[in-house]
Amino acid sequence: MSVATPPPPTAVGADLIEADGLVKTYRISRPPRDVLRGISLRVKNGEFVAIMGASGSGKSTLLYTLGGLEPPDAGTVRIDGVDLFSTSDSQRSQFRRDRIGFVFQTYNLIPSMTAAENVALPLRLRNESSLPLGGNRIRRRDVDDRVRAVMNQLNLHGLQGHGPDQISGGEQQRVAIARALVAAPALLLADEPTGNLDWTTSHELMSLLSRLVRTDRQTTVVVTHEASIAAYAERVLIMSDGQIVDEVRLSHMPATDEAIPDPAPLVARLRALGL
């Protein structure tokens, strides 16, 4: 399928991510290290999945492979029916821009831009790559409206003109999430999004993501090594040594923003696995 014209949205409950037989070996280390060993997984549209594992288990590599940033040595990744690694680099970039949002542990906001400008970046990239008179361009007013709406949704009202160095870590990460969501991606990928945040801010952030899934059916995959964070997800994939060694379905996804899920069942399962 071509990525030039976005496919029709995947129906809620249908598979959004189809990954099969993913293999990845880092050969720059000696001896070469197998970080993904034949991983296959499915993530449904509107699902909230967490990937857990110890450091070096391959969870971040899996996330970046699902997002099209890290090509696997073998295997395929289909997002919304598009085989990511059978497309060119520029087509993959375009797909990421339009269909995938990334959130990183270190926020990665551009210091020379204000919060609003950081949020608007994916839309600017889309406009910059369109022909001057092309139909895909988004009018400036529409960009501003969309940025304002997303920032309001993430409680960032009033911070539009602030630079990254003028706001707190939690606010910076919310700006990063706003940036990931502004283009209405089909898939939100977050790599240790609470890694640099305190406990309170971490749970506020996870509540926010949880709400997005609950209210907007935003498909979300989060990588974390903390059970209390993974407990917000509906399903937790546990990785060890480049493989998914277990899968835990959690039925108690919080119904409100204030509710904090109990990580005890997940912790018990991890203990049972010896992790």
Binding site: L69, F95, F104, I110, S112, M113, R124, E128
Partner: protein, 829 residues
């Protein structure tokens, strides 16, 4: 670019120093191209104007072989040829002249005929008074140099209104001087000093022995000079020459042009390198931004455009400054190099020249920026996202050393070539090889130097370790500096070698220690009078005249072989001095300068026919000299014994132009006696210095351009040092956290700057020495063999200046990096 342009703009604004230095480098590149271009154009215009003025209205000069003369019928015939509008003969005669009352005691001067105030269609520059009118047989104009030389001892120079006595068909006749002409103006240039009389006088009282050696032709509009020349040869035979006086190739600074182009291109390339370095640094500082943009969906092309647009914007700022500097530089160089005896050259930079300079400098800078911009676009996303300056550890591309070695070997092979073009290619290949080896060389040399310095500067080894961690960036920074230092050292060696060769030329040329020069050919009696005055121990006459030899005009220097054999002078290379000078005394023989050996095939024993007063005589090359006296046309003269010259060329070889003397007492007494006869006494050491000055004057611009390229390369170094200091803020804070003092941290940052600059400069010096050898070899010619002289002073000054400048440039950012609180610095990523 609406989407990403703000990013580029903000990056420029937040790195003002880097942007300013880069723009300055681009400006200097543009200025170098424009300045040199405008200089060459200005000098070309001046030379062209001078040639046009010298040619006057003549389109074709027809000359007969020396000693012969055109007949009136031939002149008339030339005027009737197709395409010829006017044929004007040049009337010339050698007569004895002197001031009124001097009787027959005078100088033999050249008398030249005027037609309507022109000589063979050329105007004559009049300083005072006027030229004789048509039909005037009583008045003359004389050259200003001759006016001084004709004065009787102790009296003033002749001037307008004075009487001049010349030998005519009727005996000594008096003529009134009504004008003084310029000996260096846009006159006919047939002689450096002459008396001008109207053709009425030439064809009247001076008709006996009158020669017509040349006819100047003015052609009809549209007539081709080459076609008319063919007709002339068809009509009068091929023994005469027909030359377009404007046809000579004009190329001021011709010998220097290839090196000038090389040095200019170097400035442009190094300017491009600074831009490339600037973009590479921007890319390094914004690695995470690149990763984020790519993760957010920016394509490689978009990232490329982001960095490229930034480079274009910064380079564009350099355009107006570069254009202004270039015009200023051009004006200065034109005024510096324009010969003072020619009219000031017009200096009007055209839009085309300015655009070409801008295009070269700006275009090279933008092209240079494209490489790192393309690399930025292709940066792996995850590598960029995970990048941390503190953990940066660069790998030198595999196979680089092999390519470097191949390039050096290929360059060395080219060095052995005889063609200067191949040698230039060899120099380029060798320097490319050195640049490619810099990732290996600079860190190793820095480490070695750091080890040596560690007792004095304990932080040096740690600084060297930082350079080893980033060999590619270190090499990119050092590249421009190394190449520019190599060029400066090589050019300095070239200058030193040329000066030394020039010294050797002049030092071995003359007998005696002083040269008395005369504006006109003096009588032998004057030399005798000077010897009798007791002011000189020894005097030897030198007469230089021109004769046709094998179809070309060759200068002949008539000397006293005995004096030269006894007192030195002239470096005889074969056979021995005694044999060579004895041959000059004994018959029709010459000594030939080595410069004529290749071109004319003149070797010892060779014979060639010469038309003399006694018919055609075969002269033998009796010996070779390394150098001879300047011929006036850039070549060197044949050496002949003065008695032999007088025997075969009669009056032409009489007298002397220069008198080579050893003063008896003080130089002042020689000055005085020389002035008595309208001559100047010049010590040989002064002539040596003049030759050195003339050479330095020409080659100096090369050194200046090489220094400009060093300055441009320093800008890249400063850029990198600023980024290094900024990036290492956290590392320096860590060191302070574990016990380093602030001053120790500062010394660490400064020693890194010093080591990088020193390693780059020292490699440049070494490369410059290697490159200088083939360049000296290529610049050598027969008899002019510049020897390698290591320009130690220039090399030491360059290295010290570069190290001091680098440390000074690093001081401010290093202070900033070390003055920040440890906790604040540790929080930085």
């Amino acid at each position: 670019m609406s989407g990403l342009w703000p990013l580029a703009w903000r990056s420029i604004r937040s790195h003002k120093l880097r942007a300013a230095l880069t723009a300055f480098a681009v400006a200097l590149g543009i200025a170098a191209v424009l300045g040199v271009q405008l200089t060459l154009d200005g000098l070309n215009s001046q030379a062209q104007a001078a040639q046009d003025a010298t040619a006057g209205a003549s389109s074709l000069d027809v000359r007969v072989a020396a000693g012969s003369s055109f007949t009136q019928a031939q002149v008339t015939g030339l005027g009737k040829l197709r395409g010829v509008a006017q044929a004007v003969p040049l009337y010339e005669k050698r007569v004895v002249a002197g001031p009124q009352g001097s009787g027959l005691q005078g100088l033999t001067v050249t008398l030249i005929g005027l037609q309507d105030g022109n000589v063979a269609l050329r105007p004559v520059t009049v300083l005072t008074g006027r030229l004789p009118h048509r039909g005037d047989t009583a008045n003359v104009a004389i050259d200003q140099g001759l006016a001084g030389a004709l004065a009787t001892p102790g009296s003033r120079a002749l001037r307008v209104g004075d009487k001049l006595q010349m030998i005519t068909a009727n005996g000594p006749d008096q003529f009134t001087i009504i004008g003084i002409t310029s000996d260096t103006g846009a006159g006919p240039g047939f002689t450096r000093s002459a008396v001008f009389a109207d053709n009425a006088a030439m064809l009247g009282t001076f008709h006996l022995g009158l020669q017509t050696p040349m006819v100047a032709l003015r052609l009809n509009p549209g007539a081709s000079s080459s076609a008319v020349a063919e007709e002339v040869r068809g009509s009068l035979g091929t023994s005469l020459s027909a030359v377009d006086p404007r046809g000579a190739g004009i190329a001021p600074l011709a010998d220097l042009r290839p090196l000038l182009v090389l040095a200019t291109m170097l400035s442009v390339f190094i300017g491009a390198g600074v831009t490339a370095n600037s973009v590479a640094l921007a890319m390094l500082e914004r690695r995470r931004e690149i990763g984020l943009l790519r993760a957010a969906g920016a394509s490689s092309a978009q990232v490329f455009r982001l960095f490229a647009s930034e480079a274009v914007a910064v380079a564009a700022v350099g355009i107006p400054f570069g254009a202004g500097l270039g015009i200023l530089l051009g004006a200065l160089l034109v005024s510096h190099y324009a010969p003072s005896d020619l009219p000031a050259p017009p200096f009007s930079p055209g839009a085309g020249e300015i655009l070409a300079g801008i295009f070269a400098g700006f275009g090279a800078a933008v092209l240079g920026a494209m490489v790192p911009a393309a690399i930025a676009g292709r940066t792996p996303v995850l590598d960029a996202l995970r990048f941390s300056p503190a953990s940066e550890r660069q790998r030198v591309p595999a196979g680089l050393i092999a390519v470097s070695l191949l390039s050096v070997i290929a360059g060395a092979i080219c060095f052995a070539a005889t063609s200067s073009g191949v040698v230039a290619l060899g120099v380029a290949l060798f320097l490319l090889g050195v640049v490619l080896a810099l990732p290996y060389l600079v860190p190793r040399i820095a480490t070695l130097v750091a080890r040596l310095l560690s007792p004095l500067i304990p932080t040096a080894p740690t600084a060297a370790a930082a350079l080893r961690r980033t060999p590619n960036r270190t090499a990119l920074t050092a590249a421009g500096l190394t190449v520019s230092v190599a060029t400066a050292v090589a050019v300095s060696a070239l200058v030193a070698g040329a000066l030394s060769a020039s010294d050797s030329w002049v030092a071995n040329l003359f007998v005696g220690s002083t040269v008395i020069t005369s504006p006109v050919t003096q009588r032998d009696a004057i030399a005798t009078a000077i010897v009798k005055s007791g002011t000189v121990q020894m005097a030897s006459e030198l007469r230089i005249f021109t004769e046709p030899v094998q179809g070309t005009s060759v200068a002949i220097a008539a000397i006293d072989p005995t004096a030269f054999n006894q007192h030195g002078g002239l470096d005889v290379t074969e056979p021995g001095r005694d044999a060579a000078f004895a041959a000059l005394r004994n018959g029709p023989a010459v000594l030939a300068p080595q410069s004529l050996e290749t071109g004319s095939g003149w070797h010892v024993g060779a014979q060639f026919p010469v038309s003399t007063d006694h018919g055609v005589v075969y002269f033998t090359v009796a010996g070779m000299v390394s150098h001879s006296f300047p011929a006036g046309d850039g070549g060197e003269a044949l050496i002949m014994g003065s008695d032999v010259a007088r025997t075969y060329f009669g009056n032409t070889a009489d007298g002397f132009d220069d008198l080579l003397v050893v003063p008896q007492g003080s130089e002042t007494s020689v000055d005085r006696i020389a002035a008595t006869y309208g001559m100047n006494a010049v010590p040989v050491s002064t002539i040596e210095q003049s030759a050195r000055d003339a050479l330095s004057h020409s080659i100096g611009v090369l050194l200046a351009l090489a220094i400009v390229s060093v300055v441009i390369a320093m800008l890249a170094l400063v850029n990198t040092l600023v980024v290094n200091a900024r990036q290492r803020t956290r590392e320096l804070a860590l060191l302070r956290a574990v016990g380093f003092s602030r001053s120790q941290a500062l010394r660490l940052a400064l020693s890194e700057a010093g080591l990088l600059a020193f390693a780059a400069a020292i490699i440049g010096v070494a490369a410059g020495i290697v490159v200088a050898l083939p360049l000296l070899h290529a610049s050598a010619s027969q008899g002019f063999v510049p020897q390698f002289n290591f320009p130690a002073v220039i090399a030491i000054v360059l290295v010290i200046t570069i190290v001091v400048a680098a440390v000074t440039a690093a001081l401010a950012p290093a202070r900033r990096a070390t003055s920040i609180s440890v906790l604040t610095a540790l929080r930085q990523d």
